[in-house]
Symmetry: C2
Subunit: 205 residues, 2 copies
Amino acid sequence: MTRTPGDAGAERADAARNRARLLEAAARLVAERGAEHVTMHEVARAAGVGKGTLFRRFGDRTGLLLALLADAEAEFHETYTLGPPPLGPGAPAGDRLTAFGCALIERLADDTDLGAALARQVPLERLHGSQVARAFHHHIASLLREAGVEGDTDMLAHTMLATANSETVDYLRNEHRISTARLRTTWAELVRRVVARAGEPVGHR
Amino acid sequence: MTRTPGDAGAERADAARNRARLLEAAARLVAERGAEHVTMHEVARAAGVGKGTLFRRFGDRTGLLLALLADAEAEFHETYTLGPPPLGPGAPAGDRLTAFGCALIERLADDTDLGAALARQVPLERLHGSQVARAFHHHIASLLREAGVEGDTDMLAHTMLATANSETVDYLRNEHRISTARLRTTWAELVRRVVARAGEPVGHR
């Protein structure tokens, strides 16, 4: 098929329509049978779009899952950046940090959470470089700085996030039978110790 | 082949010899071509032992890798439990904790480290339940208690270990190009904040 330059607008509209249709079909299939059981072939067929188009649009299956993840996370992003405190602005940074980690842990413990289910299907090296992971890291680092924590807050944020990601939360829940409540308390304890103000009791026997 | 009860001793000796021979062959193959390229078939052939015996002895490939890992870690275990301070006994618990995490990070950054290479080949849910992982956790929790940290030291140890395991160290080095020195400094900083004594300045701007 050849197109004249005048068709460029129509082509862009086509592409956008296809993208939306593919994401919608993929989201529906993931909801119906779980992210681990959805193939590229089925998504293309359900969307009524060629498999070539699907691969061109998203690169590979992981690219499609990451696009779905970005969509699924948009609402949570709004909640922790614009929603009511203590997750959203208005509470002290330490309280927001506690609320944020607890929300991540709750979501990972919730079998119906779409974002958590999608994240588990993405290879770690792609997930850690994703827009969603970067947004989580940025949020934690910003709150650490806002709480007045000195030092390498970027790295502290990386290590803190490692304690509340799906690998850690999943193995502590599944292998060690740690309750969600205990995971939340530990996150809160970690935040308390990391953001403790100079001269303030940190909690020692 | 039938055996009389009197053969039980000889059978045990046979089993021990086969086990040692299989582990030796596996270790040699892993050293030669990397843990990821070693198959059960090759190990059995190199040891001159039937494949059935190999599977009976170790369950599966992961079981064999975990047995190799336990052997490879024995020396490190001796170093951190009995060797010279600050890794071994004799230094304050906080210093030992700092030294231990830094040693883990150094080992994960060392491409020639056999234990680290084997650990990367074991599925996470098996690795986290392994004798080696439990020993690491036990060591961190004990040092936290020795340092006088109050609260849920078992859980604090789990979360601290999550910041220095192969998944975290590998992705921070590979995806974010974080240097080993910066990882070590962050571990030391985390230890400092977690074991800070009440009333002691924790470091705030």
